[in-house]
Amino acid sequence: MDNFQKKFVEEATDLINNLEEALLTLEKKPGDKDLIAAVFRIMHSLKGGGGMFGFDAISNFTHNLETIYDEVRNDRLKITEDLLSITFSAVDHLRNLLNPEALNDKIIKKNHDTLLAKVAQVLKRMSNPESKIQQDSSDNLVGSNEKTYFLQFTPNESIMDNGTNPLFLIEELCGFGTSLIFPRLHKVPLISKLDTNKCYTSWEIFLATEKSAGQLKEVFIFVEDDSQLEIIKLADFNLLTDKDTIEEIEKQFESKDNIDINELNEFVNELDIKRKNLKVTVKEKLNSFTKENIISSIRVDSDKIDQLMNLVSELVTTQASLSLYVEEKQVYELNQLSENIENITRQLRDTAFSISLIPIETMLTRFHRLIRDLSVEFNKNIEFITEGAETELDKTLVQGLTDPLMHIIRNSVDHGIEPEKERIEKGKTPQGMIYLKAYYSGAHVVIKIQDDGKGIDLDVVKKKAIEKNYITADAQLTDKEILDLIFIPGFSTAENITDVSGRGVGMDVVKKKIDEIRGTVDLESKRNIGTTITIKLPLTLSIIDGLLVEINDTKYVMPLNLVDKIYAVQHEKFVKAYNNLVIIDGEQIPFYNLRNEFSVVGQPLEMEQLVTVKYEDKRVGLVVDNVIGEYQAVLKPLGKLYINHDIISGATILGDGTIALVLDTNKIIHEFSFKN
């Protein structure tokens, strides 16, 4: 052992003692920054010194520990009991390693390996999230990430003035992989004119390595101001593997003064084609191998989807801010960019939403089972037919839909479908039928549940409504209005209350649940023919394409899919309108002036905007002050205080941070027409 080594052992002994001391204190104060920094520094010194003085075991052993404590130091990793106990064992082991012969001892060697493995485990856990990011697949298949670069390095003549030796850099670079170096000496002057302090040489280098161009550039960090450096990626594979290619490169380029990049690229392309032809057979084998492994779908944690949806919603909001900014500030340069982002965001939104869609099929099994069980219980013979099971709905909608559908089906089995004997008497097929059909209709999904049972007895409903004081005995109601009475809270037509449709949980609950997911329920029933319940749901819950409008500084959003046309109309015309009808395009259109209906204070504008929206099978106009434009609205609930406030389906936050209210035009028109 030479003197320097002895000195190092002395020093390392002190360092290890200090390390132990620091760790003991750290155990009591795991968050102490100074202690963590000290531990890191000691590891670092041990590693550096170990390498310097031939204690490679120490150097290697501390290398990973140093990395771990660097992460701790940068708050990326927490001190755990586990980590501390490993480090303590490491301290004991480091003392052993100060003996250069230590690893010849079997027990120490075993201990060494065990500890290395433990440390590696901590490291692995630490870097796990990153390791998930995989390299490009094609490269992986071949099992190599090697790429071939071409570098032109031309130092300034004065580069050696500050002590840099370009040869060191070239040497470092070549350590990265396989290389082919062409020093270019054409600038070297005649001996008589040569200044030995100047650098006349430039280099052209072919390098095949796993490193990135950035990492190569790093080698030249300290000289990049004093030289010209060009790094070009020639190929995504190692060009320098076969002798022929290397010889060809040498033949083509060695004798030249400078390599012409275009010529080089052409050369590589040619090579690439040759190479591909050669590899075709191999590739095909690989392809057939991968095909078996192609997976058409993957399982994703639904929390992750929720997270994705939230992020998309945030993105939509942020993008809206950008568009608004660009428009307000008239930043023409950004216009195109902003439009592109808008487009991409829209596509991303649609794709993200399609991810969270699941087919309604997923809940049908439960219904099959329910009908089977109930049929046995009530001694009824029922066939359950479904259509459009592949229709997809937002998963939260499916969750919200299951209960109401169960209830509807129970009702059908319990009250709708007659017993076999009764059906035969009525001349119906002995087997009853419940038919569930789902289909898309515009931006909605429609689910129809139809039975061929006895239907709802309107007289019974009416009688009950009178009994319960919902209507007066002399009320004149249409059949539809009578049916709608069933949705009144607390109304139940079941004369025999069974345990299937218990007291008080009737159609009103179904309606409430469907309302909660922004859907509508419609009921049709014909005596002895059957009952049909139609549920209409939005495709998704959280984002809608809307039309942004304004009344007296307050902004509103109308669902774009319901907007028909927009007309500028003199306020006068509305004032003079008879019976709330205005003639547009030769057609009489009923309208509601939202300014009045919403009791907005302030003067109406001379020229107002009439937005016609689709309502049932008609067009109805809604009058607003201004139409601002299309807007993707991220729907946020108004909160519990507004729970029964159904003309507004929610709010959305605009680019400038203010709130716009999202109008449910169907409900608004329904409410106003009812009132008028």
């Binding site: 000195k7 010194s45 550096g48 390498g51 003035d161 030796n165 990492q215 300290f222």
Partner: protein, 121 residues
């Protein structure tokens, strides 16, 4: 006249081996145990090269050279890092602070000397 090199390293053994190498090559060597200790030497005396470690207690190498570059007399002296660190961002930080070069530990004494000779020419 022999040139003066200031060696800064918290490890005594590194200081010794570097000093030994440089003294044998005819340099005048001053040593300091960390940045704080080193900065005291920049009091007007001639220092031809600063050779410093990166991670040190009290004042690290980067903090040290930032201080050194602030002193008029030493804005142009070569500064080399001698460290086991090889991260790009550390190198960039060092360069921005005013470092001339970077030597990675462990080093071969002859190579170290070679680099030092070149820097001080």
């Amino acid at each position: 006249m022999a040139k003066t090199v200031l060696i800064v390293d918290d490890s005594e053994s590194i200081r010794e081996v570097v000093s030994f190498t440089l003294e044998n090559a005819g340099y005048n060597v001053i040593v300091a145990i960390d940045g704080q200790d080193a900065i005291k030497h920049f009091d007007g005396k001639i220092i031809d090269l600063l050779l410093t470690d990166l991670h040190m207690p009290n004042m690290n190498g980067i903090e040290l050279i930032r201080e050194v570059r602030k002193i008029e007399a030493y804005t142009r002296i070569p500064i080399l890092f001698l460290t086991t660190e090889s991260q790009r961002d550390k190198k960039m930080e060092a360069k921005d602070a005013g470092a001339t070069g970077w030597i990675i530990k462990p080093f071969i004494p002859a190579k170290l000397l070679d680099a030092i000779v070149k820097v001080m020419r």
